[in-house]
């Protein structure tokens, strides 16, 4: 691994925190804080797809929305090629938007029902003054064929398309400005099995043809493994493990990652009857329990000893990062 030339990081997230106030009482004052993302750092290299997995409520969508500037970070930095993305300062916002785009989960909600597909894909180019009308129309046609739709789709409305085709339209819109970074939030979760594999193939194809860098969020580990170079596992606002995709599935180190992998129902009768040993649920990010937020779910005997929430993210083996928690990893057992 050390012989390879150093790969440049396109995106760097540095100690990112996104906290939301919880309003209560008659005057709707902030009575508590929901720590949706609570100190996350990672890098995404050029041309790489980083998969982000975790259960619902773990903060993965909040993290994605902060990267594209839809949530305001409480603290921490988001850097694109070493320069900080300041979505909430105005001046550079429009310029950065060309470089970072997003594909949303539900294509029927993220496309304007009253615009034609052509207008939907044209709008970002119009806002960013890309060429005159005829050049843009030509580009819309190019984008549509790039995502596997016919060019006459431009004149039709979103409701005339099926779920899979609408997701293709959402992808075409995100690609209109030739972004360097694409953030995809559960892009295939709402699709049926036979359509899902078509869209997965399209994403693989686009990544190779356009050299895209992607942050790919999903809860389905088999899909994430298939599409990603590296996978980050998130739990209650923090990363617990980050490793190359195949390595993470073959050699998970954190108890949460192990439990997630174990819980996947395999389409294989010979593995019938394997159910997860995991008990309980994700604690609320508003009032997380003290100490390690996961140990109680695996009934680790070391859990009682943890008083502080673990926050050190260490490289356990080359390229394999791990949240250093005594009750959830084997590292604690070695030390004790």
């Amino acid at each position: 691994m050390n012989d390879a030339p150093p790969v440049e990081a396109l995106l760097r997230i540095d100690e990112l925190k996104v906290h939301f106030p919880v309003l209560g009482g008659v005057w709707r004052r902030a009575v508590a804080t929901c720590k949706a993302v609570d100190g996350v750092s990672f890098e995404v290299f050029k041309g790489e797809t980083l998969g982000l997995v975790g259960e619902s409520g773990c903060g993965k969508s909040t993290l994605a929305r902060s990267i594209v500037g839809l949530n305001r970070p409480t603290s921490g930095k988001i850097l694109l090629e070493g320069r900080e993305l300041k979505w909430f300062s105005g001046a550079s916002r429009k310029m950065d938007r060309r470089r970072v785009q997003m594909v949303f989960q539900d294509p029927s909600e993220s496309l304007d029902a009253r615009q034609t597909v052509g207008q939907i894909i044209d709008e970002p180019m119009m806002i960013h003054d890309r060429g005159n009308a005829s050049e843009r129309t030509r580009r819309v046609g190019e984008l549509l064929s790039l995502v596997g739709l016919s060019e006459d789709a431009a004149l039709r409305y979103p409701f005339e398309f099926s779920g899979g085709q609408r997701q293709r339209i959402g992808i075409a819109r995100a690609l209109a400005l030739s972004p360097e970074l694409l953030v995809l939030d559960e892009p295939v979760s709402a699709l049926d099995l036979s359509i899902r594999s078509q869209v997965i193939n399209l994403l693989l194809d686009l990544k190779i043809r356009l050299g895209l860098t992607c942050v790919f969020i999903a809860h389905d580990l088999s899909v994430v493994r298939h599409l990603s170079d590296r996978i980050a596992v998130m739990y209650l606002g923090k990363l617990v493990e980050l490793a190359p995709a195949q390595e993470l599935l073959a050699n998970p180190m954190h108890a949460y990652t192990k439990a997630l992998i174990e819980a996947i129902p395999r389409p294989d009768p010979d593995q019938n009857g394997r159910f997860s040993t995991l008990r309980g649920e994700v604690p609320s990010p508003i009032n997380p329990p003290p100490g390690c937020a996961f140990g109680h779910r695996v009934q680790s005997p070391l859990h009682a000893l943890s008083v502080q929430r673990p926050s050190r993210f260490v490289e356990a083996s080359p390229g394999h990062w791990l949240l250093d928690c005594p009750c959830c990893t084997d590292r604690g057992k070695e030390n004790s």
Partner: protein, 327 residues
């Protein structure tokens, strides 16, 4: 002896213009005590409508059973009065719905909703009902049932709500449980807990289970038999292991191949089923999958309905020459 036997079930829905579209077209099902039948298919293939019509819960007057019969322990369910039907629904046949938040009443405590399941069928006196409810809630794994019984659905997490729905469905110890995508709205770790619970309770009461799902992983973990549905028809029906190891219909084969593996190579193209699910209003009588099968087909095959043929013991396949590997 099967508990429930559906034969040639045909269901139509009226579209906006009042024209009737056949959404379930000649479905046969047979459910036996202690066995789990998985009904698999993509959205819009008619699997939920099939379940609703077994219980005669189709939205009135839009949905209508056109033909077929449903026999429940020898009684024709379609001929019963709505009062007789009500005494079977919930008591003899329990139902678990996909979205627990929609299946629960937001204005009543969960304790009261489980109480109701007992009271409606006269299975408990109002004085003893709460102790039965608490027992039921404890059985489905709700921690601290005494406190939880006084809470409202919005105060519970998704996994806990689904447990309440399961408690309600199982309160009267039904002989058949119909579960329509019971874990689709849940996270994988919670899904594993709910599936394990359902299986444990089923084994205890020896009930039959009709599990409707689109997730082949869930099927492999829980079912004894599988029926694969496409565009309103069952295209293949076989024991679970046979479906995974020896699928005969092109649609079943395509579905199985399109799942990304957890151990194989990554970032390679997945095999796909080309095209999309056809619109039900435009379908003819012939094989509905042949145009997507990727194999050469004659137009005459699209005219005549392919018959279900038994290719090996208990393994039935629609015998379309383009889609069935043994034709």
């Amino acid at each position: 002896m099967s508990l429930l036997e559906a034969r040639g079930l045909q269901v139509a829905f009226a579209d906006d213009a009042g024209k009737e579209v056949v959404v379930v077209d000649g479905v046969d099902l047979s459910l036996k005590p202690g066995r789990t039948l998985g009904l698999v298919g993509e959205s819009g293939c008619g699997k939920s409508v099939t379940a609703l019509s077994l219980l005669r819960l189709l939205p009135h007057p839009v949905g209508r059973i056109l033909a077929g019969s449903v026999f429940w322990k020898g009684r024709d369910l379609l001929a019963l009065s709505s009062e007789e039907m009500r005494s079977i629904r919930g008591k003899e046949i329990g139902m678990i719905f996909q979205e627990p938040l929609n299946a629960l009443n937001p204005a009543h405590t969960i304790g009261r909703q489980v109480d109701e399941a007992f009271l409606v069928h006269g299975l408990a006196q109002s004085r003893q009902v709460r102790s039965k409810t608490l027992e039921m809630l404890a059985m489905v794994g709700i921690p601290d049932p005494v406190t939880r019984a006084n809470e409202y659905p919005h105060q519970l997490s998704g996994g806990m709500r689904q447990r309440v729905v399961i408690a309600m469905a199982l309160a009267c110890e039904p002989e058949l449980i119909i579960a329509d995508e019971p874990t689709t709205a849940l996270d994988v770790t919670i899904q594993a807990q709910v599936l394990e619970l359902t299986r444990k309770l089923q084994q205890k009461s020896n009930a039959a289970l009709l599990l409707i799902t689109h997730d082949l992983g869930v099927v492999a973990q829980t079912c004894d038999e599988v029926a694969v549905m496409y565009a309103g028809r069952i295209v293949e029906r076989a024991p679970m292991r046979e479906i995974f190891e020896n699928p005969k219909h092109a649609y079943t084969q395509g579905l199985l191949k399109s799942i990304p593996s957890l151990t194989g190579p990554t970032q390679v193209k997945l095999p796909v089923i080309e095209g999309m699910v056809p619109s039900l209003s435009e379908l003819g009588n012939g094989c509905r999958f042949a145009p997507r099968s990727g194999r050469p087909h004659r137009s005459s095959w699209l005219m005549e309905r392919p018959l279900l043929r038994e290719v090996s013991q208990d393994h039935w396949v629609e015998s379309c020459p383009a889609c069935c590997s043994q034709s």
